[in-house]
Subunit: 242 residues, 2 copies
Amino acid sequence: MSRDENIGRKDVSKRVERAHRILDVAAALILRWGYNKTTIDDVAREAGVAKGTIYLHWRTREDLFRALIRRERVDMAEEVKQSISQDPMGATLRGILKHLALVIMKRPLMKALLLRDLDVIGKLAHSGNDTFAYMEKLTGFNSYLETLRDHGLIRADLNLKAQMYIFNAIFMGFFLTMPLMPEGFTLSDDEIADLMAETVHCTLEGNLSISADDLKAVSLAFMQYLDHAVAAAKEHLQQELQ
Amino acid sequence: MSRDENIGRKDVSKRVERAHRILDVAAALILRWGYNKTTIDDVAREAGVAKGTIYLHWRTREDLFRALIRRERVDMAEEVKQSISQDPMGATLRGILKHLALVIMKRPLMKALLLRDLDVIGKLAHSGNDTFAYMEKLTGFNSYLETLRDHGLIRADLNLKAQMYIFNAIFMGFFLTMPLMPEGFTLSDDEIADLMAETVHCTLEGNLSISADDLKAVSLAFMQYLDHAVAAAKEHLQQELQ
DNA sequence: ATATGACTATTTATTCATATTTGGTCAATC
DNA sequence: GATTGACCAAATATGAATAAATAGTCATAT
């Protein structure tokens, strides 16, 4: 490794560190004041950099916040991956749902994004309603469901599209019901996650007896996929933050 | 029956008829233009009455639309009752859910109310956020669940609060997911209703074997309750429209 | 080369005056 | 007595003109 590259490396790591510091501030401010009322000046001041510095990282204000969202997603994916890998049943449908739910509940920004909380994401909701990425995610999930089905880990008497819809409805339903329940009918995050998992289990996994081999195979395939996807996303993010 | 009362009757029936005509127009206009942009003048013109006449029925604009919503609820309840009574399994949890869902899907106004579609209900959403009536409905549903449980028609290994939450989450989830699914992943109303029922069945009813006696008992109790509640609501509505 | 913050061109918020719409009333009419 | 629609006050929309806030730039400093 030449000296030039070394120097470059050092510079880059400093830059990335600063980018993260700025995003940290942006995350705190968007949750405190909402996207519409969070200014670049605020972010710069709180992050201890000049405004111009922020524009050395991102071309526009929106770019900055979109980067924040991407980072949030990557961090979440990493956390979910860890969580799943520690649970023998983690790669089952109910496992994924439960771990995903618990991680999201701990992350106010992800929760706000999922629930489309306009107080937080404001105009960020309208612009760039990335349906392409969404479709991509859905089709990715589709192939995961196919794998599960091939290994007998979900019911075979329901078509994929239906199972897809059911999974989505349960996922969104449990989250969206949270703020709708009146006093006395609310449940804790952990209870909700468990019930979500239970619902998916009963409806999509049925009372199929899980073969250890199939579970192992699916877990391996899924973790391998997740490892790869998360690593790529992290790499991509690192690159993006230079 | 004296002649006075007869004359009164006739007048009242005319009045009620007119009230319904006005509400019909209000329903059409609120769906076409939304609450905020539907004026009393519009309603009066379309209904073929003078504006003053409307104020002979309701004290304010909001009262008119709240009456419309009450009527919609009563009509819906009546329709659900009919639908359930024709289905042997109608009074089971999955039966109720399915019939309720199908009826709502056919009623744009109910759908808009359920989904809190601000384009339709506009400022009507904020004012009078009737949590009391909501609580009442929830506790009513609670006791229905208790009856089901006593007759072994739903699982006994989940507490009522949890089952309540699950039911709500499934119900809302399937409805709210409808507009969120992209092209190619959508399902028909009937498919969605069936999947909703299936989900509730798997999760809350389990694979319990239903005793014919218990089913009969629950159906009877439920239909009796529904009959009574709907009749009272209708009576109340009739009274309200004078 | 990197970072800064004063600077500017836009955007957004505020104000104020005017015009229009609309909820609700009530004297006149049927 | 029931119904009407002209009428009014209040609310809402429109627009101009001004002020304030803010995104993004760039000459200068480190």
